[in-house]
Every structure is written in C-alpha cells, then in structure tokens.
Symmetry: none
Subunit: 295 residues, 2 copies
Amino acid sequence: MNQSGMRGDRRISPPDPPSLAERIRLEMDAFTPSEKRAAHLLLSHYPFAGLDTVAEFASRAGISAPSVLRFVTRLGFSGFPDFQKHLRGELEAQLLSPLAKSGPSDKGQGAPALASFAEAVIGNLQATVANIAPAEFGAVVELLSDPRRQIHFTGGRFTGALARYAESHFRIVRSHVNFIEGQPALWRDRVIEIGRRDVIVAFDIRRYQEDVTALCETAARQGATVVLLTDPWLSPIARVARHVLPAHIVAPSNWDSSAGLLLLTEALIAAVTKRLWDTAKPRMEAVERLRNERS
Amino acid sequence: MNQSGMRGDRRISPPDPPSLAERIRLEMDAFTPSEKRAAHLLLSHYPFAGLDTVAEFASRAGISAPSVLRFVTRLGFSGFPDFQKHLRGELEAQLLSPLAKSGPSDKGQGAPALASFAEAVIGNLQATVANIAPAEFGAVVELLSDPRRQIHFTGGRFTGALARYAESHFRIVRSHVNFIEGQPALWRDRVIEIGRRDVIVAFDIRRYQEDVTALCETAARQGATVVLLTDPWLSPIARVARHVLPAHIVAPSNWDSSAGLLLLTEALIAAVTKRLWDTAKPRMEAVERLRNERS
DNA sequence: GAAAAGCTGTATCAGAAATTTCAAGATCTG
DNA sequence: CAGATCTTGAAATTTCTGATACAGCTTTTC
C-alpha cells in the first residue's frame, strides 16, 4: 500500500518542531471512534477548535466532554488547560516566525498519493485560469444571466455528473434551466423544441462522446447558442460552439481530472448568482423555506 | 454563542475589519493608568497575551484582575470570555486567509472573479490535503479495493452529482458498484439488502440532508461500513461513519465549493485503480472496445 | 454464544476562573 | 487644603469549567 516514489519531494521547510497535528495524523489509526471524531474536528480547524471550552469542543465534535478529556490525556497532556497551552504556544511560534508562512501546515510526509495528486490538480487549476480569456468567461456569465433564455446542461459519461451539478445550482438561481440526459433516445423528441432562444452548456472531454456532439450540432443548426467546457484539445463540439472554456485535465492517474471543469462551473455559478442576486435571493430563500418546512 | 466566527460565514470582501489592536491604539489616551498597562501588554504580545486567564494577564501587566476586567468591559465586550472569543476570531481570520488579503477586490466581473475564486479554491484544496489523515485515506482505499464488497454511492441535492461521478468511474474499475438516489422512496426497498459486506460512500455537506443521513443510519444499523465525504463541520452521518474525509468548502460565493470533495474522489479513484490494476485494466479495455464497436 | 474487555455518555463533584463588592488610596477641583 | 471624584486592589461571591466515577452498551475474544 505504500506507493512510494512519486514526486512531491518539494519539502523546503526544515524539520520544524513536530506539530501536534502531525502526531495526531500519525496516531490516527490507534484512536477509538470518538477520539477520531475529536481528532478530525481539531485537524479541520487546527488549532482553533481546541481553544474553546471542553463542552464546546465536545459538542462540535459530536461527542461527550469526557471523551474529549480522554482524547487530550491520550495525547500526553496532563489536562485540557495544558493542551490549550500547547496549542497557543504552537500558534504563537508559527505566527511570529515569518518563515512558517507557506501554509497552515503542509508538514509531514502526508499521504504521498493524495498529496502529489493534489499538487497536480492544483497545477491544472492554475493553468486553466491562466488560459481562459477573461472576455470569454464574462460573455458566458452574461449569457447565463439572461433570464429570457432557456438553459440546457448536458455532458458525457463522466462529465454528465458535472452538468448535473451545474444544473442543480442554476435551477435554484434562475428559471428555465434543465438537464438533458446523454442518451440520444432520451432527447430526440425534446431537441425539436430547441431554438434561437436556447443555450446549451455542454461538458465534454477526451474520449469525446458522439451523442453529445450530435446533440450540440443539432441544437446549433436550429439556432441555439452552444457553450462548451472541454479539455485543451477541444472536443469536436468546439466547431459549433459560440464560447469555449478549456480546462487542463491531466493528472497522475489512469483517469483525467475534472477539477478544472468543476472550478469553471462553480465560478460561473458564483458569478451568475451575484449578477442575478436581486432575483436569485428570493428564490434561494424560498428553497430554504421549503427545506425547513419539510423537516 | 452566536458571535461571529463560529460558522463559516466569512465575509467576502470586507474593508478589513478594524483590528481590535488598532482601536486600542486610538483610544489609548483615554485610558486610565492601569488600563494603559493592560493595553501595552496586549499590544506588545498581540493577541496571545489576551488568551491566557485573567489572573495571568493581570499578573503580567502588573495590575489586578478587576482592572483587567474593567479594561475589556471598556472595550465593549460583555466579559472576558467574550473578549477572548473575539481575539481567537481575529487570529483565525488572519491565519487562515493569507490569500484573501492579497487580492484588492473582485468587484469587477469576468476574469478577476475567476482568478480570485480559483485562488480560494486552491486554498481549499491545500487545506483539505493538509488535514486528511493519511491512514484514513489509505484505509478507505483499502476498503474500496476489496472486490468482495458491494459499494454504494449516494449524496444530497448537490453532492449527488459527485456521488454519480464517483460511481461512473468505479463502475468501470471494479464490479459490485452502484448508485443510490437520494429520495427515500427510491431506496426504501433496496436498503433491506444492505448488510455487513456493503460499503456506503456518502457525500454530504452543509445543509445536511436528512434523507441521506437516514439512509446511512439504516445501513450502518444493518452492519454496513459507512464512508463519509463531508465538510469540516462534519455531517451528522459522521456519527455512524467508519471513515470520515473532510474537505474545505468555503468560497467567495453564495455557494459552497465542492472542489475539495472532487479532489478526494478523484484521488480515491486513482488510488483504487492502481491498487486493482490487474483486474481494472482488462475491464477498462473492454469498455473501450465496446465504445469502438458501437461507432 | 457467553464472557471479557473496551468505549462512551450521564450524572456529579471539586476547583478554578470570572465577576462583583467595597473600602482605601490617588487625583483633581475650587 | 478639604471635599468630591475617580481609580484601584483585596476579598467575597458566583458562575462555569474541567475532571471523575460509574453504569450501559458495543465489540472482541475464546
């Protein structure tokens, strides 16, 4: 299970007094279930979660106060105040040293696989942003913010999930939003209604899927505006697309990474939500209200 | 307890909340002698001096405890705990968002929005990786690599798409993989078959969805192993989950970002694919072959 | 399948910490 | 310089937090 090797040896920072966080990560296996809860909470809000009271910490971790006490005792502290004192000490040391800036805590030879994978994905995101034409992004935001237009999301085998993700958000922000399944049989009869007013947002990356291309071509022929989120090699849909947003997708895996596409999607959602805030807000509140009623 | 800070409602682009330190400097003249001593101590060791006990603070400042209390009351806090809470909040905001500082403002539409959004997402990814216990990640990989187990993916309103994304990949890598729709009506009859051999991989973030929780609880009660991908505040599913992988989700948007969850998902897919390569490879080739035949 | 071991939460307690009281001292004012 | 006002700390008080004992429950082991 030790996929050693990989790259990821960019650890510039010196030994650094082994942070408590690191020790917790290493000992994680040996913890009891509720200790793990405590550990997760602490790590996810390191170290601030630990600076509250025992009761608060317990409540946030979903465990009882005594379990928290047992947790800190197990870590070798004589009591909760002792534990807090240590955390404050670490915090002070970290904050006052101008070097320890880089990240909250990227120490530890973390999960090799996960860390190097993340590194690659982050690189993809940066490359994606760098290569998007601002005007293109803005134009798409504008397009998706037009309330008179009907928006259709679609995608291929894997990217269909992203289309669904986009649709489930846009559906709340505005009206006239829907999702088109990938299988031709399912859209053959719906596509005839697509016309000049419609916008197709298609997700399509490598191993481009013919049925998605066919859908977009048909729609474009009928006058619809096609927006394409794809990889840098551009899906054939690009030929009929009005706007193309490419994302880098290569990762140290047998599969491509869709993180860049998700980034673009979420950025679009954020931008359009802000753009349509006056109408989106009441819609979001209405959804919230329905949720609460149901429970 | 509903002081700001607790929840993830980080303001998007504040004009920099005037730090308490600054205010103290301005009001310094109006302080009494002992208040000045308190102020000097706090400023010279900002904000750590204030995180100790009243007694400690008083002793270090060379004044009495009541003077310290009067000092913080004068600053507008309802008591010493309130004062400390504020300090912790400032500290957390300052430490956790070294990026949020740099960008002047994302007022303009288009590219700036995309760039700053990307920055925040990248920060999330780094924080997510930093806080995942390698052992926990490894354990999940191991679990999902066990060919004898049945794997079920599920998620909520928005995260369901991620579950679908995971499922569509795992389905190719290995057998016994399926997707469970969110609505209880759809799984009520399927869940009875879930037992000791089954693994539920649930995606659930803020605005935790009750039906997903119910599904996991039922499954857990029947002996299934639950793996949870959630946010740092942990979905209630964490109570019954064997493994929890939290991802940071706060973004400069009205919506949360799922990029961290996607990162974890893809990393899991990559790791399991590698782990099961001997059996995964022929499966992937078979899928490829089918694709080609169809065209 | 029964016994043992281990975990966890409830109830409770002890003690520490924050807060208030009050009177002594310092400072200001006329 | 006397009275008024403000400032301050010792001590009393109250609140709350961290700690513990114990019993129920789960998991493990034989």
